[in-house]
């Protein structure tokens, strides 16, 4: 693949950083502050979108890779940015959804008259800086650096309410994420460096960076390193280190939406899959028989989290466990190690992002309009808030995997991937989880539209949340449908990854 040097990825990152600084400086004037957030978001998306023609594979684009070396730390360890098809999937999605989230959080935070909105917006921009940094990393060190930046910068967002519950959730959050990063990823990274003398990602998903000599001599060690990476990037929500995610739901809903459905958790799965494909590589994983054990291991998370989600009445908690479950689809797909399986896993990064942000946006809109958090209290609300619940219904269908919404594309590829790999067990797990998804999503919409309000409650005066909230959530829902009907745009990138 042809490589070119361009400053664009750095510019995209600096825009987010500068946005954060400008937000802090203009804290006294809310309108100007929000304007800065918006300008930063739209500029960042613009810069990232301008790289699409360079990256998109021929004949639609040039099919090149962008590299930008920044700092050299040690021989084989550097801070280097890379933009390839895989990075673009994540970067485009994250930066686009940031624009929606800026509008949405302005409506949400003002609607609830939240405190410390300046800090909130500044940290939001910093979190995006970290997330896109992860997407644009060319080596394990750069990725680890941005991964940790995301952890630090989202702490203030999770602790936003500064009450006991907020501090407790934030503490859990930072303890889980730092312990796993420092205790598992760091030693794994150092050992990979000791074994190979480099931390750079491979050029394609097949070869990995371990020579066959290393794999023959230290197969067991390489397997251990793989396990460390799989569990160490705990933002991926794989059990047993998933508990930070439900805990972090104490954060304001825009945070849950963007960060815990898109940026933070996607940083986790993106890092995990990047390492699986570009550090270990399909060939190494096949040679060491790592694929299927991983697939079955994350299957446990898929099923278990769905079962827990069934038991949750708090809407955000149910969505949180749904996230835990859905994230593992991505890892499962990649672990199948067949082209279709990997494609299904990767495209779910985008599909899940659009659908899950819709669901969280809806949860926030319901809260702002009615101050209700529990599903049992939402019976009959659909008639008062038709747009919100329609969007919720669309996104639920996507989560379930029904056509013609985005999630169906994922399911289709995953099922095909499982068949290609000859794994009937995985097929059964996918079908079982689909049923569970129906079980915990369908009642929400059904009761909202067809249920009766709880006894003694009258929904007079309840209307849709402000437009700044409803419009973004509708856009996200519509995009879920668009991807479902026309997945080719994103599939171009996905196919370029697998090629």
């Amino acid at each position: 693949m042809e490589t070119i040097v361009s400053i664009k990825p750095l510019l995209a990152l600096l825009v987010a950083l500068a946005g954060s600084v400008m937000v802090m400086l203009s804290g006294k004037k809310p309108n100007i502050r929000e304007a800065w957030s918006f300008v930063a978001a739209i500029t960042m998306f613009g810069i990232i979108a301008s790289m699409i023609p360079t990256i998109l594979p021929a004949p639609l684009g040039l099919g090149k890779k962008i590299l930008l070396p920044l700092f050299k730390i040690l021989p084989g360890v550097s801070v280097t940015l890379r933009v390839d098809a895989f990075s673009m999937i994540f970067a485009v999605v994250a930066s686009f959804l940031w624009i929606l989230a800026v509008f949405y959080s302005a409506g949400y935070m003002r609607g609830l008259q939240e405190h410390a909105q300046t800090r909130f917006n500044a940290c939001f921009a910093l979190a995006l800086f970290g997330a896109v940094g992860v997407a644009f990393s060319d080596n394990l060190f750069t990725m680890y650096l941005f991964y940790e930046i995301v952890s630090i910068c989202t702490y203030p967002l999770v602790a936003h309410h500064q009450d006991e519950e907020g501090y407790e959730g934030a503490k859990k959050y930072i303890v889980y994420l730092t312990t796993t990063a420092k205790g598992l990823v760091l030693p794994a990274m150092i050992l990979i460096y000791v074994l190979t003398g480099s931390l750079d990602f491979a050029d394609n998903i097949h070869t990995g960076i371990f020579s066959s000599g290393v794999i023959d001599a230290h197969g067991l060690l390489v397997t251990a390193l793989y396990v460390c990476c799989l569990l160490g990037f705990a933002k991926n929500g794989v059990m047993p280190f998933h508990n930070w995610l439900p805990g972090a739901m104490v954060a304001p809903t825009p945070v849950s939406a963007l960060l815990h459905a898109v940026a933070v958790v996607k940083v986790g799965v993106f890092s995990t899959t990047r390492v699986m494909l570009y550090v270990f590589g399909v060939d190494t994983m096949n040679a060491l028989h790592l694929g299927m054990p991983t697939a079955y291991f994350v299957s446990f998370t898929i099923l278990m989290a769905s079962v827990i989600a069934l038991s949750k009445d708090n809407l955000k908690a149910r969505l949180a466990y749904s996230t835990v479950s859905q994230l593992s689809y991505i890892i499962l797909g990649v672990a199948l190690l067949t082209p279709t399986g990997i494609e299904g896993g990767i495209i779910h990064i985008a599909n899940h992002a659009f659908s899950k942000i819709t669901l969280f946006f809806c949860a926030g809109a319901i809260y702002v309009a009615t101050h209700k958090k529990n599903i049992s209290e939402m019976s009959g609300l659909g008639r008062a808030m038709p747009f919100t619940f329609a969007a919720f219904a669309i996104a639920s269908l996507s989560m379930i995997g029904a056509p013609p919404v985005a999630g169906f594309v994922t399911k289709w590829y995953l099922l095909n991937g499982a068949l290609d790999a000859g794994q009937l067990g995985i097929l059964v797990i996918l079908l079982a989880s689909t049923l569970l998804n129906v079980g915990y999503f369908a009642p929400v919409t059904f009761k909202a539209f067809f249920g009766k309000p709880p006894a003694g409650e009258v929904y007079t005066g309840i209307k849709e949340a402000p437009l700044t909230m409803v419009v973004p959530l509708m856009i996200a829902a519509i995009i879920s449908v668009v991807i479902g009907i026309y997945p080719d745009f994103i599939m171009n990138f996905v196919k370029a990854v697998v090629r």
Partner: protein
């Protein structure tokens, strides 16, 4: 003098050593407190500027001692005035000259009584610390080593906190015990060479008998292990740190602790290599014990200075681990980590001193929730805390990475046991940071707390600059180490690994 590149031009090293001393003598003539402060600042900044040519003219391609000076001192006993620096001492010299002006700035308002005497002690400290790093003759080394003891004792005993007498005497006794053993080892070495010599480079590679090496090693080791301080010889450290004034804590943590590890590198490894190999496994485990003990104890502290003091025990554990791994990555990482610890922990002590000046308390709980009132302060504190927990992109990460990389190729088990130390570092630093920046739902009233003034920002900014510089581009600092470290490894007899695969082979038993 085949080990020395003699310096025929301007005697930089002597000038560096004696400039603060001359400054101290002239200080006695200064009228008024402010004149004393300004004068000391000028002298220390002058010394710092004078040390810059050392880096500029340093030849990184030779292991020989550079900028050498050699004068006969006491011919009858073959005692000479020999100075010289190599890659190992260069950075420590520069660290010392960098920190001293900052110490003066950090004590500007903190020290209100006996300002002249305080500044006098600071300048005496600078002379003797630089002397320790430059001396190549054991007697000269010992003179400087002991000369540090009195001014440091005074810094704690005169300008210290409420329990200053206890802390200063404990410090004095511990260090003195180490010094006596050091003196015994020096005399034993002198008597065992033919012709008798005190020259440090000439004592290297003498091939002393294993039994003799063992005794000398143990004497050296105890002296330096107390200074580092290695677990279990660390108990003087928290007491001394807590009671010392800010500048005292900074000098103690940033420079004095490094003398222990410098001693390992300069004496134990090259003079007694056989004994080093014998004791290596025990020292590795002792280092791991220090890393874990320091981490757990720091996690339990309510006093900010104590927390940082115990974190030093953990960090210095990583340094000794790196040194006794005896490969180039480990030792280079250890030396870099010595510099990093000097910068970061020094900065953290400055930070504690700055709130102490405002509230006269070091309690974590007393300062909960400062973030809202002192945003500039907590920004600095956050960066230094992140550096202390080896956040990627900061200086400590590079050092820790190298130490652990070296350690993994030596022993899997030891390294895996050391890794929790990195988690603990994150735990206690985040705990401190969380308390100070956020606190709890109910925080003490901080109205009227002033954020940092220009002088305080000027004190911290250079340190932050180095945190990020070493973190993102450590090559200028590592460059000067390679040849000296490889030479050291040749002296010990563990040749540097030839490539990644060679390392890997060593790793799996």
């Amino acid at each position: 003098m085949d080990f020395l590149v003699l310096n025929n031009g301007f005697p930089y090293l002597s000038a560096l050593i004696f400039l603060p001393l001359v400054g101290a003598l002239l200080l006695l003539a200064m009228p008024g407190e402010n004149a004393c402060r300004n004068w000391t600042l000028i002298v220390t900044v002058g010394t710092a500027l004078l040390s810059l040519p050392l880096y500029q003219h340093f030849d990184a391609t030779t292991h020989l001692y550079q900028f050498g000076e050699h004068h006969v001192w006491i011919p009858g006993l073959n005692i000479n005035y020999t100075l010289g620096i190599d890659g190992i001492s260069l950075l420590l010299v520069l660290l010392t000259t960098l920190l001293m002006p900052l110490c003066v700035l950090g004590s500007w308002r903190y020290i209100e009584k006996r300002v002249k005497e305080f500044m006098f002690c600071l300048l005496l400290m600078e002379t003797s610390m630089l002397g320790v790093f430059m001396a190549l003759d054991l007697v000269l080394f010992y003179v400087f080593w002991e000369a540090m003891l009195i001014p440091m004792y005074l810094l704690i005993a005169v300008w210290g906190g409420p329990r200053k007498m206890y802390a200063s005497i404990k410090f004095f006794l511990y260090t003195l015990a180490g010094s006596v053993l050091l003196l015994v080892a020096i005399i034993a070495l002198y008597l065992n060479t033919n012709p008798h010599t005190f020259s440090i480079p000439q004592l290297m590679g003498q091939g002393f008998s294993p039994a003799f090496q063992t005794w000398v090693f143990l004497a050296f080791f105890l002296a330096f292990a107390i200074k580092v301080p290695m677990f279990p010889f660390h108990t003087w450290l928290p007491a001394a740190h807590v009671e010392a004034p800010t500048a005292g804590s900074v000098i103690l943590a940033s420079v004095l602790l490094k003398m222990g590890t410098y001693g390992f590198l300069r004496f134990c490894l090259p003079i007694t290599p056989a004994a080093t190999m014998t004791f290596m496994p025990y020292i590795l485990w002792l280092s791991v014990a220090g890393i874990l003990y320091g981490g757990f104890t720091a996690l339990a502290q309510q006093d900010m200075k104590k927390l940082i003091a115990y974190s030093s025990v953990g960090h210095m554990g990583f340094v000794t681990l790196g040194i006794f791994i005896l490969n180039s990555r480990g030792i280079e990482g250890a030396i870099l980590q010595m510099i990093n610890h000097g910068i970061t922990t020094g900065a953290l002590f400055f930070c504690v001193g700055m709130v102490y000046e405002r509230t006269h308390s070091r309690e974590l709980a007393r300062h909960a929730g400062l973030g809202k009132y002192m945003p500039v302060y907590v920004t600095f504190l956050a960066f230094f805390s992140l550096s202390s927990l080896a956040f990627p992109g900061t200086n400590s990460f590079v050092g820790e990475f190298l130490v652990l990389a070296g350690s993994f190729s030596k022993s899997m088990v030891v390294t895996v046991c050391a890794v929790p130390g990195a988690i603990l570092a994150a735990a206690y630093m985040f705990r401190m940071l969380q308390r100070i920046v956020w606190g709890a739902p109910q925080n003490p009233d901080h109205t009227g707390m002033l954020d940092l003034n220009t002088r305080e920002i000027v004190t911290l900014a250079p340190l932050l600059f180095f945190v990020l510089w070493i973190g993102l581009s450590p090559e200028p600092f590592l460059r000067v180490l390679h040849v000296s470290v490889n030479h050291l490894l040749t002296q010990v007899g563990t040749l540097p690994p030839s490539g990644p695969m060679a390392v890997a082979k060593l790793m799996i038993p």
